[in-house]
Amino acid sequence: MPLVETEAIVLRTHRLGEADKIVSLLTRQLGRLRAVAKGALSRRSRFGSALEPLSYIRLWIYDREGRDLQRLGSAEVVESFFEMQKDYRMQVAAQYLAEVTERFLPDREVNERAFRLLMAVLRALKHFGEVNRPLLFFDYWLLRLGGFLPDLSCCMKCRKSFAGQAGFYVESSESLLCSACRSGGSGTQLSAQALALIDEFRSARIEEWLRMKKAPAGSRELRLFLEQVIEAHLERKLVTRRLLAEEG
């Protein structure tokens, strides 16, 4: 049974029995997987704060290919996101990232770009203390990397370009319609301003974009639509999305 060293971000943990934890991880070298951390809940645990949600850790894992659950040998913190999550709004945002990552990425598939995306967005949350733009950036890029991003430039029915016009969407839809094609004035509007944001961040690094100015109008609007696209793609409701909505 080989002992493998890898980096990982802790997505979530569950209690297992009296003193153990099951840890869901996005590892850099092995992809997303789950491992048992023996004794993680005991007073003499070797894991310290390493297994708290969203910790960026270095770990040693007994990797048994083909098993559903691996065993964690040890883990140490590389970068902690503990302090940031003392703020409930940041905690919800960070754990939204964890929930989406866990649901979206397949088991045991190495995905360096998704790993770097999650790291960059976590750091942006930590350093800028803003929720809307980091989550928007995450949603957009995760969908795009996975090949599930709908065409946001034109109406999906008549193919007319939005070109400065608003788009519209109905609940649980993954695409946008123009004002002429939507049925009877129904649907939620996605303003032209929100759609124009895509050009602003598409070719920028997240920290460059966040440094540019205060959160532009429309970033929340666009984020809410992309969250819906993610839910529709996953075919399930995200628990953190409801709590995020309550926070405004």
Partner: protein, 199 residues
Amino acid sequence: MKEYTAPLARLIDELKHLPGIGQKSAQRIAFYLERAPRDDVQRLAEALLDAKDKIRLCSLCNNLTELDPCEYCSDPRRDPEVICVVETPYNVVSVEKSREFRGHYHVLHGALSPLQGIGPEQLKLRNLIERLNGGTVRELIVATSPTVEGEATAVYLAKLVKPLGVKVSRIAMGIPVGSDLEFADEVTMLRALEGRREM
């Protein structure tokens, strides 16, 4: 895997729903009960139902109790000006073990944990605010766990309660007794330094 006869399979299935009990433990308990004298099993069954029927939440502090208010809330020797906030009823037992705390309790029945769908609405906060508005309480000691969830809950509570003029304190966190500094990571060390006191 071998199929069990229907009543046994049902028992194993029910046991598996208990926290910390997996398939193997459930089988072990089921076989144990199968071999035990009928009287023993009956006493267990009655104890389960008796507890379920008689135990409720204290209307003041949400602790599990047979009488409302609970033994802590109705004990005249305890100080009603100080309330210790904990996540679960068994955390009350942990604090009591110190024999140091002589105030009242408030049980939240959880901690802020977005991944589990637990936000402020899901915590038992309403009757805490009512108690604080009563004007008797001077200090709130927040004894939630030293985890992301426990910390977020403590900070949320402090923000909620401070405008009411109540002093809020947090239990000290850091290096566990009997361990070595060498094993403390950055978060643990930061907590330990924050919680330092003059000697």
